[in-house]
């Protein structure tokens, strides 16, 4: 069964460093998403992406964040200068526009 894959599973970084989280969505999906879950809190929407551009973003998704689909398979989330409060589990998801979202297993980011 096709699945969304994410790398790395866990990344530890120093505050102020750049981080890139990578995702490979399901191949025939057209819509891609990033969600975030701070420890002990709810899963929150960050951004949706379609046709090589951001469709919608939340207030969390400020100028420190960017997304990109650099090739036909990868979908990346970049945090330019990490802050302590960026420590969270980041989930990538994809779908065909309706129906359920298919989530990856997440990338845990720890900012020291």
């Amino acid at each position: 069964e096709p699945e969304v894959t994410q790398t790395p599973s866990h990344q530890v970084t120093q505050m102020g460093q750049e981080v890139i989280l990578r995702c490979v969505p399901i191949s025939n999906h057209l819509y891609f998403y990033w969600y975030r879950q701070i420890l002990g809190q709810k899963v929150e929407f960050l951004v949706s992406f379609y046709n090589n551009e951001i469709s919608e973003k939340s207030e969390i998704f400020d100028d420190q964040f960017s997304v990109e689909r650099p090739d036909g398979s990868n979908f990346t989330l970049k945090i330019r200068s990490t802050k302590l409060e960026d420590s969270a589990m980041y989930f990538c998801a994809s779908n065909r526009g309706v129906g359920e979202l298919f989530f990856g297993e997440g990338s845990r980011l720890t900012v020291l």
Binding site: Q6, S48, S55, E56, N95, G97, E100, G104
Partner: protein, 117 residues
Amino acid sequence: AQSVTQPDIHITVSEGASLELRCNYSYGATPYLFWYVQSPGQGLQLLLKYFSGDTLVQGIKGFEAEFKRSQSSFNLRKPSVHWSDAAEYFCAVVRSNSGGSNYKLTFGKGTLLTVNP
């Protein structure tokens, strides 16, 4: 704005006992409704979903959920819990008239399920 409430932060049940996890939503029209499960260190796995039709939906792992429009609820149930069901459970909603680029799930805060032997 739509919102999802899971009133129980933590529930403990004995193995073999029945389970009901509560979910209430706030939205003007019928949303699409989902239950996801997150095992420790794992991602979000879809248990079941409701879009339309029969209000009692069956999911994987023996779970079911019932949509009650009058109560704005979508409670998750299982008649006999197994130790492997210990996990965190999230209810989520999305506007039924959304799609494509504005298809955005709103999650509840989750219910942590502990299963005692």
